[in-house]
């Protein structure tokens, strides 16, 4: 099978990144924002793997993507626990309702 080349992967990665950022900026649901974060992380991961295949980055890129997967899992666990705690205190997960702290 013919390779699609580096730019194909980078375009998909960039699309994932932009989708994730838009998701983070527009979603009002806390869980939705965290899903946007996952999209951004996976966009970056795709870049790492593509670069490791097509540039001098080599295996470093693949190792980096493995690290990122583990760290993303740790971060998601913490974020969901905090979101649950927020829900317990506020009975909602809407970030706009988090308005007690301001000034």
């Amino acid at each position: 099978m013919e390779s699609v080349g580096l730019s194909g992967y980078l375009i998909v990665g960039a699309v994932l990144f932009v989708c994730g950022v838009i998701c983070m900026a527009t979603k009002r649901n806390g869980i939705g924002i965290l899903m946007g974060v996952e999209l951004v992380l996976n966009g970056a991961n795709l870049n790492f793997v593509a670069f490791s295949q097509h540039t001098h980055l080599g295996l470093d890129g693949q190792i980096a993507s493995l690290f990122v997967i583990v760290l993303a899992a740790a971060e998601a666990a913490v974020a969901l626990a905090i979101a649950l705690n927020f829900y317990n205190n506020h009975l909602t997960i809407d970030v706009d309702r988090a308005a007690d702290l301001k000034g």
Binding site: V37, N45, F51, L71, A79, I82, H90, G103
Partner: protein, 555 residues
């Protein structure tokens, strides 16, 4: 090199050296395991977890201190020979600076100095939590696990030598901080603060990682020492223009990474989390975050900035853009932080904005360093910038810790944190009077008035910005704004001091009585502010900072 040779090298040369350098961090990891075991065997009823944490941290501190003395005296210090031997320090290991763990981290006296500062701060924060009683006995092991875990991330940030480690270190210091901010889980504001912090933090971490992937892909390496030379190689003789794809991708990658670092430093415009997180978190946690994560992030920022050094014209332009971008961020942070602090009624929130402003002052030093490096190649002047920053961070550690410790102790007595609750504080008992004076010293030093230590830190940073101004005029603008902001900042600090010393106490409240132990602790952490401004310690710290900074530039 063949695979068996490579394995032999890693196992017999790199690994023993790395473990020797990394031993204090390993002690901290062991402390975390011990904390969990204490809880598992129900031993925390007779062995308080706070003491386990404090003992482990002290051991790690001694380890790093031994490393520092070994590097300073080349292992010749007679009275410390036993300590060097105990930690197994050798001339090939700790005695030689350079990368370890196959180049992921790097070891030099700059890293060791920051590690000493961070561990000293961790000890002081643990002592503070023991005195204030947050966390309580049942939650102790969770809290100290998070606190020590975050500190290990910061210790790693001091020696970062690889883009992957940059991401890992920032995540390691962030993830436990999210939980620590929400540690008082029944409180509504605390859960809200943690939620906001984690949502911003996770988003920014993702953006930063995308920057790392771009930068590593364009330059084809993750290793810091190669970034600058690879960039020079790729650019060749071509000028740095925005039509050059390599230049654009590199700038984009650096900018996205700087977003992540700026978030950790709470620099405008990535500061939104800071006031909310500080108000929602307990004062102990806020104090820890305001100093420790800043110190770690500054060490990391300096290492990252110094990765782009070179003589090629394109690298010089990149340095200049890097420095000017930091200069703009510095202006914004100083001005915004000080202006927003005026209207605050909650003291922790006011201190949060003061933290933002101080991060602005400190980043001015890094901006000056990059601008100097881009033009004159004067390494002595660049080292002076870093040494000024080190001095400032060392002083800032004590100033901010004093301020937050007083907030925590007063909260334990009055259960309030708004500025009005400080009215007439100085009319309380003898210890309360003493604590009020300590708060005065900390605040006056935060403003930067002589002869306190804060003045000399600010002076060192401003003078490095002045020197950088001769390379690019913009640093003079930054310097002018910094001077103006110092004057602005006087007023909101004075507002708090007016409440403490001049305003009469509310009628119905009884005078605040602070226990003697607490007074002793506050005096202990205030003394360095005086000592570093008015005694020979100032010269010692200054000389050490300059020595440490020069090593960074191989002078």
């Amino acid at each position: 090199m063949s695979v068996p040779d490579l394995l032999n090298h890693v196992l017999h040369t790199d690994l023993p050296r790395s473990v020797q350098i990394f031993a204090p961090e390993l002690v901290l990891c062991g402390t975390i395991v011990a904390l969990l075991l204490v809880r598992m065997f129900d031993a925390h009823r007779w062995l308080p977890t706070s003491w386990v944490a404090l003992f482990g941290t002290l051991a790690a501190f001694v380890g790093v201190f031994a490393q520092f003395m070994y590097m300073k005296t080349d292992g010749e210090h007679e009275s410390l020979k036993g300590m060097f031997h105990f930690w197994g320090l050798t001339a090939d290991g700790v005695g030689t600076s350079g990368p370890y763990f196959t180049g992921l981290l790097t070891h030099d006296s700059f890293a060791v100095f920051f590690r000493i500062g961070l561990l000293l701060f961790l000890i002081l924060v643990e002592a503070l939590t023991i005195l204030t009683g947050i966390p309580d006995q049942d939650d102790g092991q969770d809290f100290y696990t998070l606190l020590i875990g975050a500190t290990i991330g910061m210790l790693m940030a001091c020696g970062v030598n690889n883009l992957l480690m940059l991401f890992v270190a920032i995540e390691m210091m962030s993830v436990p901080s999210y939980v620590m901010v929400g540690f008082l889980k029944g409180r509504k504001v605390s859960s809200e603060a943690a939620f906001k912090y984690v949502v911003y933090g996770a988003g920014i971490a993702g953006v930063m990682l995308y920057g790392v992937s771009l930068l590593s892909g364009v330059l084809g390496t993750l290793s810091f020492p190669e970034l600058g030379s690879r960039f020079a190689l790729l650019m060749g003789d071509s000028a740095f223009t925005l039509s050059n794809p390599t230049a654009v991708a590199t700038i984009l990658g650096i900018m996205l990474i700087l977003v992540g670092v700026a978030f950790k430093l709470s620099l405008v415009p990535f500061h939104f989390w800071c006031p909310d997180a500080f108000e929602g978190a307990s004062a102990e946690v806020a104090g820890f975050l305001s100093v420790a994560s800043k110190a770690g992030a500054f060490a990391l920022l300096i290492r990252f900035a110094l990765a782009f050094q070179g003589t090629a014209p394109a690298v010089q332009t990149l340095c200049l853009i890097f420095g000017l971008a930091l200069g703009v961020v510095s202006c914004l942070s100083m001005t915004f932080g000080n202006l927003a602090a005026y209207t605050q009624t909650n003291l922790k929130r006011l201190l949060a904005y003061s933290t933002i402003a101080h991060a602005g002052y400190m980043v001015m030093a890094v901006a000056a360093m990059m601008v100097i490096l881009s033009g004159s190649k004067d390494k002595d002047a660049a080292a002076a910038c870093v040494s000024g920053l080190i001095y400032y961070i060392a002083v800032y550690l004590f100033m901010n810790l004093t301020a937050f410790a007083v907030v925590a102790f007063i909260r334990n007595q009055t259960f309030r944190e708004d500025i009005d609750s400080y009215n007439g504080l100085a009319t309380g008992g003898a210890v309360t009077k003493l604590v009020s004076v300590c708060l005065l010293i900390a605040f006056v030093s935060l403003v930067g008035l002589p002869p306190l230590a804060g003045f000399f830190g600010k002076f060192a940073i401003f003078s490095s910005a002045f020197r950088a101004g001769s390379v690019h005029w913009f640093l003079w603008v930054v310097l002018g704004l910094g001077g103006l902001n110092t004057v602005f900042s006087l007023f909101y600090y004075l507002r708090v001091l007016r409440a403490v010393f001049i305003l009469p106490p509310a009628d119905e409240t009884k005078p605040v009585e602070i226990p003697g132990m607490v007074g002793a602790y506050v005096v202990l952490i205030t003394l360095p502010i005086l000592a570093l401004g008015m005694s020979s310690f100032m010269g010692d710290l200054d000389a050490t900072a300059l020595d440490v900074a020069s090593q960074l530039f191989h002078i």
